[in-house]
């Protein structure tokens, strides 16, 4: 009697907990494409964090026969200087991941700050912030990143700061549109009536609601940041201390005839990482907000100016 009662309460609690922690976002992870891309992302993340243990050789060691095609000894072959490409790719992906994540986090912070302030406070502040956002959206990001890196020097901190400092406008716009919608909601009015300060409302009540969309946009920004980093590396604007897939692709282009694998395999690995991130983000955004990503984007671009 008591036993069944206990079991019942436990089951009830379990149900409550699972309801509490249930979020429609889990649906996105049940799609087949999500599982595939998520596992690819996890493999690459693991590979890049454990690079020291996984890479079979030193990526800088030039001790092998140059231009060896892929084999069991050298999974991706060797390059023009006889370096093991598999090891170079692992370290290169690590650079991509570090730069992508850090730049996207910087962009997210700036975007959140600008978006919430602009959307919640409104008025003149909104006007000023949105003009600045417009400016940054019109300037082609890649070109400014190239020019800034060329002038300031291609060390990894500069690259992160430059890409991060240029990638926030989209986050700011999405956050702003949600914050504007939230402004009129009763629970914000209630918080105001109780006497909560403006900054408290922004942090405690607006922030949690914009966070899911922000994180999705951040996912896309990681992909873009990795793309820009690869482009910079391709132009020879990557940290000379670190491996970069862009750099490998640049070397590979010069030796197309002697070794097709030098460019082809590393490029495919990098593209797979970016594709996985984008497909996962597509699936997530189709669940949390089927319309907002594309339609607000279009509306802002076409009408909001």
């Amino acid at each position: 009697m008591i036993k069944t009662k206990i079991i019942k309460t436990i089951k009830n609690m379990q149900k409550k907990i699972s309801n509490l922690y249930y979020h429609p976002i889990y649906e996105a992870f049940k799609m087949r494409t999500s599982i595939l891309s998520l596992s690819l992302i996890i493999i690459m993340l693991l590979g890049s964090f454990l690079a020291e243990w996984i890479a079979p050789y030193d990526p800088r060691a030039t001790s092998f026969q140059p231009f060896q095609p892929p084999s069991w000894d050298h999974l991706f072959g060797t390059d023009d200087l006889g370096r093991d490409l598999f090891s170079r790719v692992i370290y290169g992906i690590r650079t991509s991941v570090i730069i992508g994540l850090s730049a996207a986090i910087i962009a997210m912070f700036i975007g959140l700050l600008a978006g919430i302030t602009s959307g919640y406070i409104g008025g003149l502040v909104d006007d000023i912030i949105m003009r600045i956002t417009d400016t940054f959206q019109v300037i082609p990001r890649l070109v400014l990143a190239i020019v800034a890196t060329a002038f300031l020097g291609p060390n990894i901190f500069n690259v992160i700061l430059i890409i991060g400092g240029l990638s926030w406008p989209r986050t700011a716009r999405v956050v702003r549109s949600i914050a504007i919608a939230l402004r009129e909601r009763p629970f914000i009015e209630a918080a105001k009536a109780v006497g909560a300060t403006r900054s408290r409302i922004m942090i405690k009540h607006v922030l949690p609601h914009v966070l899911p969309m922000t994180l999705t946009v951040m996912g896309y920004e990681i992909a873009v940041a990795i793309l820009i980093e690869a482009g910079l590396g391709f132009l020879g604007l990557s940290d000379p201390q670190l491996e970069s897939i862009g750099k490998i692709l640049h070397d590979g282009q010069r030796y197309f005839l002697s070794g097709w694998w030098i460019a082809l395999i590393p490029g495919t690995i990098l593209s797979m990482l970016i594709i996985s991130i984008n497909i996962l983000m597509d699936n997530i955004s189709s669940i949390i907000n089927p319309a907002i990503l594309l339609t607000t984007h279009i509306k802002n671009e076409t009408k909001g100016k």
Partner: protein, 326 residues
């Protein structure tokens, strides 16, 4: 109406101004003394010479004064002098601009037609198998680095199948007549065009799909069906309405095409602005780098303003000030 146009042009100029100021400050915090750069490496120059050069180049003035001079010069069309090419930056860029514009505009034409066509097919049955497959393929293509797509195409079509040239603009052996020259440029254009199209198509397909899909849900489509229009005609009417936002998006994309083409141009040694920028970076030709930056920004801003103005003429809602506040 006129107020709107003037405001947009003013905003555009402001954008260019902000971009110019950003680039000025970047150049200022960049490491290295410009005097050493002019004198050249080796032994440090005598202090008198440094002082004289500083005065000559105006480097002894305060930073705000120099910013003012820089902005005024840039806006009056003086982009500086390239020490590497021994030529004015403006002429260098102008000589490379046609090739870049040719590449970007042909890509623009291709991506708009293909994306409207594919968007039409896909929007008819949202969430069907075709829709999902096209969606995933679109995502895959816009995830590829543009220069890597270019490399794959070179490897297959130029080096593997040997059907198309691997780079350049025109073969020097081609006879200097209109028709063979045109054909040869077309042959050289094919691969860069294809790479750029593939990369930029993904985004445009998504835009086209959403726009057409949204129009198909509107009331007038239902009335057209009620009148007895065939599905094909209904779809065509929807596309006609949807083409406005699609083309607008494509125009914004065009501004990015000019810059997005940079990396592709380098792979194919296409004689546009991209390969010029690459040379400038390799040779540390900073006046040229900032000049190219300024031109690309001005181009993007100009296209954006033009698009907005055309949109104003075509869509009366914008003119009346009923813009969607999102």
């Amino acid at each position: 109406m006129w107020r709107y146009i003037i405001r947009r042009i003013f905003q555009g100029l402001l954008t260019i101004l902000i971009a110019t100021i950003i680039i000025f400050f970047i150049m200022n915090i960049a490491p290295g003394d410009p005097i050493i750069f002019i004198v050249g490496g080796g032994e440090s120059p005598p202090p008198e010479l440094v002082k004289q050069l500083r005065e000559e180049y105006g480097l002894d003035k305060s930073i705000s004064e120099r910013l003012f001079i820089y902005v005024v010069k840039i806006f009056s069309g003086d982009l500086g002098y390239s020490y590497v090419y021994k030529s004015s930056v403006k002429e260098l860029i102008l000589s490379r601009l046609p090739a870049s514009i040719l590449l970007a505009s042909s890509t623009y034409v291709l991506i708009t037609t293909i994306s409207i066509f594919l968007g039409m097919i896909v929007a008819k049955k949202p969430l069907s198998i075709t829709d999902r497959v096209v969606g995933i393929i679109a995502t895959i293509f816009f995830s590829f680095p543009s220069f890597f797509v270019a490399q794959i195409l070179i490897l297959t079509f130029a080096l593997g199948l040997k059907v198309l040239p691997s780079g350049g603009f025109i073969d020097p052996r081609t006879p200097r007549e209109i028709f063979p020259m045109f054909l040869d440029i077309l042959r050289h254009l094919a691969l860069p065009l294809l790479s750029l199209t593939l990369v930029h198509l993904g985004f445009m397909i998504k835009v086209a799909r959403t726009s057409i899909f949204e129009i198909l849900r509107e009331d007038f489509i239902t009335s057209l069906r009620a009148i007895g229009f065939t599905e094909g005609r209904v779809l065509r009417s929807a596309v006609r309405v949807a083409s406005l936002p699609i083309l607008t998006m494509a125009n914004y994309e065009f501004a990015f095409l000019i810059s997005g083409a940079l990396l592709v141009e380098i792979v194919y040694s296409w004689p546009g602005i991209g390969s010029l920028l690459y040379d400038a970076i390799l040779k540390r030709d900073y006046p040229l780098v900032s000049g190219i930056f300024f031109i690309v920004i001005s181009f993007s801003v100009a296209i954006n303003i033009l698009t907005d103005l055309v949109y104003t003429f075509l869509d009366p809602r914008v003119r009346l000030g009923k813009r969607a506040e999102t």
